[in-house]
Amino acid sequence: MSEAVVWLTIFVLSVFVGIEVISKVSSTLHTPLMSGANAIHGIILLGAILVTGYAESTVQLVVGLIAVVMATVNMVGGFVVTDRMLQMFTRKKKPAKSAGTDQSGAAA
């Protein structure tokens, strides 16, 4: 098997896995899922670090560093904001039980 075909195989299988794992998502979670997937492609940071680490001129270094900053914002910000959203989904279990009586939480 030639090397390009190996890469193609990984690609095609990943496509199917990507569709399969989210095929049963409820519309409730569309926003966090989009945001979480968004964070995952922040892994381009790895590529940005590699090209910056092998930069051969100042221009390349500067462009590479810009890419590193952008990719980090994508990755770190993406995971943090997704977690913030999901925190709200888990937190509501407690008040759900005492919704009728607990009025104080609304003012807070």
Binding site: I10, F11, S14, F16, V17, G18, I22, V25, S26, T28, L29, H30, T31, P32, L33, M34, G36, A37, N38, I40, H41, G42, I43, L45, L46, G47, A48, V51, T52, G53, Y54, L61, V63, G64, L65, A67, V68, V69, M70, V73, N74, M75, V76, G77, V80, V81, T82, R84, M85, L86, M88, F89, R91, K92, K93, A96, A99, G100, Q103, A106
Partner: protein, 462 residues
């Protein structure tokens, strides 16, 4: 560049598995937070490992850049209001796409040096990443501007837009092919500029209500650009991570478009065909019936069954907590109250669930559209708070309307409808709502938080 050692390949494999588990977790409410955490761990480990094998130069500036990016990302993520979430996701997606395009340009610089023969596939992947990455960047910036209302949220059209767009796409393909024969930095930079142009032109004609679908599509685009850069850099974790996002993002886009009863092509290019500017900014002076908080309080207080339709306006007014109090009081009086959540309520599919969860509304009271649509006929009062398009019967009756075909909440089947609105301004989609002029409709004008407060004390006083 040195070869990737086996142990690093294995770490990358583990990171790729973590990404799959992350997406899997994110699609069920129970495991979503764990899933996100797994994704973060996988990404962090994969990034840290690079420093230990790759014999990099410029390590200090790189670390400084990472610190700067982390601070910016965390600050943005923590400061943003939940109402502004779609904008932030668009922005994060944009910088990711931009980074992918820059990485590909730097790789191209390396490939064009004498004595290097990168091969046909790598050159195609490079051209693809440059175009799609920069397109995702500029498209996301326009999306951000629309959602943040820095520019009009209505479709922007000008004569010749489709022609310029088509020429941009054709030129991108032609230059990508040229890259394979004679790779050069000049072509690479022109490809980047073309990508920027195509991205802007793709998003400009999309109307405000459809913008979330575009975010999802651009997200998938960035994913594929990252996957292609994985092939260029011969890096499996980039390939797998990017492909997962590209595939799941495309699928999610189709799911969302389905929830709106539209095709993706119709969302992107519908405005180009014309005719979708129904009611363009025109405010009708037809008579409506408006009432005071006391009138509405009587309607609600003596109803057996009430359904609340919350919309983006509720969240903008920060009135979720007051609404929840009102619902608690009504429930104590013996009224059955449910929330009807349209799949695209808010500015992004699933957005309203996040916003109400923030206000600690019990999960059991949130009903999805398909579950509750049959119940409107037996409902005494529907209270529409800051929503408009999701109850607009034009989606069923007016083929010219941009939202035609979108499944809506059947609020018009209830005995009484109360709209809480700030003004007669049409909704985000920019279309007038016939339901506002229905004889059974009462309008309560004012800021949602203010009106709900008055309504709450009026109901308490009954």
């Amino acid at each position: 560049m040195i070869d990737t050692p086996v142990w690093v390949q294995l770490v990358y494999l583990a990171a790729a598995v973590f990404f799959i588990l992350a997406l899997k977790g994110l699609s069920s409410p129970k495991h979503a937070r764990t899933g996100n955490l797994l994704g973060a761990i996988g990404a962090t480990v994969a990034v840290v490992v690079v420093f230990f094998y790759a014999e990099l130069d410029n390590v200090v500036p790189i670390l400084v850049a990472i610190v700067i990016g982390s601070i910016a990302g965390v600050l943005g993520a923590q400061r943003v209001q939940m109402t502004q979430m779609p904008q932030l996701v668009a922005l994060f997606n944009g910088v990711g796409g931009g980074a992918a395009a820059l990485v590909a340009l730097l790789e191209l610089a390396d490939m064009t040096e004498p004595g290097h023969d990168p091969g046909t596939f790598a050159l195609i992947a490079t051209a693809f990443t440059i175009v799609v990455g920069s397109g995702a960047f500029s498209g996301s910036v326009v999306t951000f501007a629309k959602l943040q209302e820095l520019m009009t949220s209505r479709p922007v059209l000008f004569p010749g837009l489709p022609v310029i767009f088509a020429l941009g796409v054709i030129a991108s393909v032609a230059l990508s092919v040229m890259t394979v024969w004679t790779p050069s930095m000049l072509i690479g930079i022109v490809l980047g500029l073309l990508g920027l142009l195509v991205g802007v032109l793709l998003v400009l004609p999309v109307g405000g209500a459809d913008v979330p679908i575009v975010i999802s599509l651009l997200n998938a685009g960035t994913g594929l650009a990252v996957a292609a850069s994985g092939y260029i850099l011969q890096n499996t974790v980039l390939l797998v991570g990017g492909t997962l996002v590209g595939a799941s993002g495309t699928f999610l886009t189709l799911l969302m478009a389905g929830a709106m009863g539209r095709s993706v092509a119709n969302i992107l290019f519908g405005a180009l065909k014309g005719g979708s500017t129904l009611g363009a900014g025109e405010t009708s002076d037809r008579p409506v019936r408006s009432g005071g908080p006391e009138d509405v309080a009587i309607l609600l207080g003596y109803a057996d069954k009430v359904i609340i339709v919350p919309g983006y306006g509720l969240a903008v007014a920060q009135a979720q907590h007051t609404l929840r109090e009102l619902v608690d009081v009504l429930t104590e009086r013996g009224t059955k109250v449910d929330y009807a959540i349209h799949p695209v309520a808010g500015r992004m599919p699933g957005h309203m669930n996040v916003l109400l969860a923030e206000a600690q509304v019990p999960y059991e009271q949130l009903k999805e559209m398909d579950d509750i649509n049959g119940e409107f006929k037996q409902t005494d009062v529907v209270l529409v708070v800051g929503a408009n398009d999701v109850v607009n019967p034009a989606a069923r009756t007016t083929p010219r309307a941009p939202i035609y075909g979108m499944p809506i909440l059947n609020a018009d089947e209830a005995r009484q409808v109360v709209f809480m609105k700030r003004s007669m301004r049409p909704g985000f989609a920019g279309i007038e709502n016939e339901l506002l002029f229905d004889p059974k409709t009462t309008l309560l004008f004012g800021d949602a938080k203010d009106s709900l407060g008055k309504l709450l004390s009026a109901v308490k006083g009954l």
